[in-house]
Each structure stands twice: as C-alpha cells, then as structure tokens.
Symmetry: C2
Subunit: 138 residues, 2 copies
C-alpha cells in the first residue's frame, strides 16, 4: 500500500498555501527537493530528492527514503552504513515544492559520504575577488 | 564586475569534494538550490534558487539574491518588503550542487509571502492513511 498525493492541478493557490491537503509539486523528473536537518540542533545535514515512492515510504515507515539521482534508484539512506534517519518532523513550504525533514541519525553517525557529520562542511568566501572554499570548523 | 565560477567539468571528484576552488554545479536550467536558514536559530526559512548572476551578486554584496523561477527574473529578496537578507555564512555541500545560506532578516520580518516567518509552516502527517497538513506552532 502506498500513500496517494493530491495532484496540484486539482488545487487552487489558496488550497496549496492554506489547505489541509498535501499536494506536493514534483518537478518534471518526478522529484521534490528535501532539506534534511538534524533534529538535535537544526543544522542542515544534506539536500536530497524524493519521488512519490520515496515520500510515501518515508511517511509510512518514519525512516527517510530518497531517490538517488546518480544511481537512479530508491535510496533508503543509511541502509548500508547503518546511519538510518528517523523522521521527527516533515514539513512543506508555502507552494509545496520543497520538504524539510528533521531527523535523528542512528548512532549519531556521519550523514555525508565523506564521513563528515554534514554535507555542508565548506564555507564559500570571496578572496581577492575569487570564490574560494574553506573547511568550516564543527 | 562579477565573480567567475570554476566549471565542474574542469574538476576531479576529489577537487569537487576536497578542493579549495568553488565549482558550483548549476542544473540544466542554470540554477542551483539554496537553502536559507535563520542565523539566529538555524531554522529553515525558505528554499530558493540562484543562477550565476544571483550567486555572484550575493557574494559581492553580502545581500541574498535569487532567481525567481515564477517571474523568470533576478530577485533581490526583500527589495519590496524591506526584509532584506544579510548573509552571515554561505556553505556548499560535498558535490557542490546545493548551497546553504545563514542570514539575518532585516526587521526580523517574515520571509514567506504569506507573512509567516518561515515558508515551512505546515507539518505533513499520515492521518487514517492519508497525508494531511497541519499548521505548526511557532
């Protein structure tokens, strides 16, 4: 069994912004952007994408599932590493074209494949007019 | 004058993940996803998109600029409302296809066009097997 989502084409702007029906706007590839935050301190851990199946599984199981664009397959984050993400809250934005998950990461393990806690480990700055990256301190 | 960004095609996987050169991966529409957080408490305020010009202006001025997909034009957030976003930090993720901005919103005003502080004001839950939205308490 999977969760059915209301098509946005059935909804008015007011329904989408203020209504109680969840009508996620998937893009032309059938994906919606998901921002993933650590429920402990709100810090952004990663940005990923979900298709309808991944979103449905996330809602049904309480464990975050995504669509891997590089591998073109369903991705139960942490299935291999053990760093599963338990969803504490799932929110959507005004036009329902983005999701925000607050999660608990199993084992407080790294989210990033580089073994860092967050994928956002580098700061962008202008140095002598050029954009450069520096590693953030945790 | 605008900031030049390194094309990802010139970079190895190691350069992209560990190097000091900023080589943002713009999508086929020339856009990169930007997660915008309140610098005060890390809460996610909105998800937007930048093209190279918006990203360059953001770095040069310290004020967040985006590309409005609905209006197909450069968007200096808050130019009309006064709720300009001063960038406190700008980070990128491991594969440099997403950005995260921590901002101070002028006047502590609303970020969302619905006059709410954050665009993520609704929680998604399964109720009797259907996905429903409820307004989050602030």
């Amino acid at each position: 069994m999977s969760v059915e989502f209301q098509p946005q084409s059935d909804c008015s702007k007011h329904d989408i912004e203020e209504g109680a029906a969840f009508a996620p706007r998937f893009d032309s590839n059938g994906l919606i952007t998901a921002v993933v935050c650590d429920a402990l301190d709100n810090s952004v851990l990663m940005v990923a994408h979900m298709n309808a199946q991944a979103l449905s599984l996330t809602l049904e199981t309480g464990i975050a599932h995504y669509w891997s664009r590089s591998r073109q397959q369903l991705w139960k984050k942490g299935e291999t590493s053990g760093n599963l993400q338990t969803v504490i809250s799932l929110t959507t934005d005004c036009d329902q074209d983005a999701l925000c998950l607050h999660v608990e990461v199993a084992g407080n393990g790294p989210t990033c494949h580089t073994e860092r806690r967050s994928c956002f480990y580098r700061q962008v700055s202008l140095i002598d007019g050029a954009a450069r990256l520096t590693i953030k301190s945790e």
